[in-house]
């Protein structure tokens, strides 16, 4: 009886993975069909007022670089407001920002101290939102370095009243630094060149990434700002935007550099936060997405798959454990059918995140064929993510059972390595 149940579960889990596999196949083929994108920016008479929000906590190694870049932006400065939220920094962040603030009237410092400080990015963003005057609110993390005309590229889409948010592309700046940054760069290529672009072309759920993206301020305020109780505030706001009847536009030509984390420990911290936040969103929005009359059937399916993406590594782990148990329980039968195991194992392995071929196609479209040589090493990231997501899953379940979350927001460290290269 136990063996039958395990067999049923094993087949069910493999089917779920096949669904994700097909999803990524569709995404890849969609992007391959038309791999060229229009990077030229046509002149637009639509220039709304814009507020740029930059949450910063101990970012003195990178914040100056971003602020200097903002002063080089081509967008009319009389329509620009920049709010840097100094979230209880103990380093030189405040001094650097104040130096810029003295020289550029459109740069404002919002200092958060005491109990208010260090509550996390969504809390900092909400505090700044009260002071924002722009029609569009654009967010950047302190370690980002965008192209000069990124504001024009992002805001031009807001002419369309159905668009609630616009997301740009992230490129890893410190890619050559070490194996971690190189693998993250590959992940980002898969995510932004194939995943996001395909969702945009297919009219599915394009994700607002929380940075290098803008939201209509009126919409954001009507939605009550960012949710401070969820770690993945970007995914959370994405679903609220769609459920309110708006959509997120992805513009692959709006690009910004980011500084990827430098080590496996920092990678764990960052991905744990993403995984846990994403899982919390899945619990919050699963039924709402399923029942929503604002979404098309395709968007509903994609929304559900997107919400559950961080459960996949956990399911992979389950399927492996079940597979091992089945081998032990039915040794006599399984030993004659050993050829089945690699096939099912392969399904398990590719049903996770942006699969390897997706990254390969993304790198090819980007003209980075040599980067493809590192793709097999993504298997390290894959195994690591299984551990991260399993820990996040256990913690989410425990916090649901005891009714409170113990997580304290841990910011990602940036060391500005590229400054001193």
């Amino acid at each position: 009886m136990l063996a039958e149940i395990l067999e049923f579960l094993f087949i069910l889990l493999s089917l779920v993975m096949v669904i994700y596999l097909l999803r990524h196949c569709i995404f890849t083929v969609t992007v391959l069909k038309r791999s060229k994108c229009d990077v030229n920016l046509s002149k637009s008479d639509y220039t709304p007022t814009v507020t740029i929000l930059i949450p910063a906590r101990n970012e003195d190694k990178v914040i100056g670089r971003l602020l200097r870049r903002i002063t080089e932006f081509t967008y009319p400065k009389d329509k620009l407001q920049v709010i840097v939220i100094d979230d209880g920094s103990t380093d030189q962040t405040e001094r650097i920002v104040r130096e810029y603030s003295k020289l550029y009237s459109y740069i404002i410092v919002l200092k958060r101290e005491g109990k208010e400080a260090g509550k996390g990015k969504p809390s900092a963003l909400n505090a700044a939102l009260k002071h924002a005057i722009g029609e569009v609110v654009i967010c950047f993390d302190a370690d980002y370095y965008p192209q000069r005309d990124i504001v024009e590229r992002l805001v031009r889409w807001f002419k369309d009243p159905t668009i609630g948010a616009v997301q740009g592309r992230v490129v890893v700046l410190n890619e050559p630094y070490n194996i971690v940054t190189r693998l993250i760069a590959l992940e980002r290529i898969g995510g932004y060149v194939v995943d996001q672009e395909a969702r945009e072309r297919l009219g599915l759920i394009t994700q607002f990434g929380g940075t290098v993206g803008g939201i209509k301020r009126s919409l954001l305020e009507s939605l009550g700002g960012w949710d401070e109780t969820i770690l993945a505030e970007d995914t959370e706001i994405t679903f609220r935007i769609y459920l309110a009847g708006y959509r997120v536009k992805y513009d692959i030509s709006a690009e910004s550099y980011e500084e990827a984390v430098y080590g496996w420990r920092a990678y764990w911290k960052q991905r744990y936060r993403w995984a846990r936040g994403h899982m919390e969103c899945a619990f919050k929005y699963f039924l709402k997405v399923l029942k929503s009359d604002k979404l098309t059937p395709a968007q509903r399916i994609d929304g559900l798959l997107l919400l559950n993406i961080y459960f996949m590594p956990v399911l992979v782990l389950f399927s492996w454990l079940i597979g091992i148990l089945l081998c032990l329980l039915r040794w006599g039968q399984w030993v004659t059918n050993l050829w089945l195991i690699p096939i099912l194992f392969s399904y398990s392995s590719v049903g996770n995140f942006a699969p390897f071929y997706e990254v390969g196609v993304g790198a090819y479209i980007d003209g980075r064929s040599r980067a493809c040589w590192l793709i097999p090493l993504l298997v390290i990231v894959f195994f690591y993510n299984i551990l991260i997501c399993s820990k996040a899953f256990l913690d989410v379940i425990v916090s649901k059972l005891i009714g409170k979350s113990k997580y304290v927001w841990e910011k990602t460290e940036h060391n500005g390595y590229i400054n001193s290269m």
């Binding site: 990077v39 920016l41 003195d60 190694k61 100056g64 670089r65 200097r68 002063t71 080089e72 081509t74 380093d91 030189q92 001094r95 650097i96 130096e99 810029y100 020289l103 370095y145 192209q147 000069r148 005309d149 490129v171 890893v172 700046l173 410190n174 890619e175 050559p176 194996i179 190189r182 760069a185 030509s253 690009e255 910004s256 550099y257 980007d366 003209g367 980075r368 040599r370 980067a371 040589w373 590192l374 793709i375 097999p376 090493l377 500005g416 590229i418 400054n419 001193s420 290269m421």
Partner: protein
């Protein structure tokens, strides 16, 4: 099962793993990857990102007076502003 029946698939698996990871190991040892990608900066004449980035004066976080060079570096970009 004979030793050939077990040995051959095992050898095939080992060869497959080596062939799969060999390019990655070569790329790690002698990187020829041209990353990071240069982002499009609107006007081809302005497409500078990395060379300017790489010339940004380093900020030594142990230094107590690093704000001064940062500010003076900033002023280089502002020829029209009187301070």
């Amino acid at each position: 099962m004979s030793s050939a029946q077990v040995g051959l698939p095992l050898l095939a698996i080992i060869v497959f793993i080596i062939l799969t990871f060999l390019p990655a190991i070569i790329e790690l040892k002698k990187p020829k990857n041209s990353g990071p990608r240069i982002i499009f900066d609107g006007d081809s004449q302005l497409s500078m990102p990395l060379n300017i980035l790489l010339n940004v004066p380093s900020i030594d976080d142990t230094s107590t007076n690093f704000v001064a060079p940062t500010t003076s570096g900033l002023l280089d970009f502002l020829p029209d502003i009187e301070v």
